[in-house]
Symmetry: C2
Subunit: 159 residues, 2 copies
């Protein structure tokens, strides 16, 4: 195993474990719990779920894996704070998108070689990437893993 | 820049940014706020601060950088849940330890080469490490970064 294969495994393991933790947590709360604020005056569980799906949907674009699958979620869950957009998808709908996305990303990620992960992501130019080679696809996976962990720390309060 | 240098920079950047986020957050709340539960019935801010210092203290041992500096924190903040141990250090004391530890770790981490980060950590045997080379020092830094982010997501509710 070369060092780049080792590190891709390390980051991928962290991503997969975080997704699995979040998934377990979602399965442990019912739709009514998901509608509650995770703490008084803070985001609702359903907002955090929509937010995670929207952020992970944007990852696909950054990783050059196609267009967003759920562009309709951006307004309510990325651009605006919780409760600003009053009409949002149901818990059932978001759970179904979460599961679909989880499987889709898993398959797409498994197809990438470790060399692919060290390629530039789509929001950095070739010129900048030559000077800043850490702005690669693996860094997208890494930063979204820490982002996910941050919100898992909050979602856990729904239980 | 070789791939292993790139990835060490990536993980180190995540660690440093997370420590700085947490530090800003701690500076934005006063001692009285730190004594509060982050959400009703959940951990107090001061417990999470003590917990982070204790976990980061254990990192030094795993990274083969010496003994724990604050072994007296293990009982209250690692082994036991919040409020089990009634006599805990003051917010002032923990803040001072946090700052001291932050500087100490920074200096120690800067001394490591990227090759050092790919060495085995102290809780894996040479035999196992030969088979599982991802159980290296960089993985300790990575997993503690995601752990830190999880608790930052909670500490932010003190504000």
């Amino acid at each position: 195993m070369t060092k780049d294969q080792i590190i891709v495994k390390m980051v991928m393991d962290r991503w997969n474990a975080s997704i699995e933790n979040c998934n377990k947590l979602l399965n442990a709360v019912n739709d009514e719990q998901l509608q509650r604020e995770v703490a008084p005056g803070k985001n609702r569980g359903i907002y955090l779920l929509g937010h995670l799906i929207a952020v992970h949907d944007s990852m696909l674009v950054l990783l050059n894996m196609g267009e967003k699958k759920y562009p309709e979620l951006s307004k309510a869950f990325l651009e605006e704070a919780d409760k600003v957009v009053t009409e949002i998808p149901s818990a059932k709908d978001l759970r179904s998108k979460w599961n679909e996305q989880k499987e889709d990303m898993k398959q797409k990620f498994e197809r990438l070689t470790s060399d692919n992960w060290f390629e530039r992501h789509t929001s950095v130019s070739e010129e900048d990437f030559a000077k800043e080679p850490h702005r690669n696809k693996l860094n997208i996976l890494l930063t979204r893993t820490t982002h996910l962990q941050y919100h898992i720390g909050q979602l856990v309060y729904l239980k």
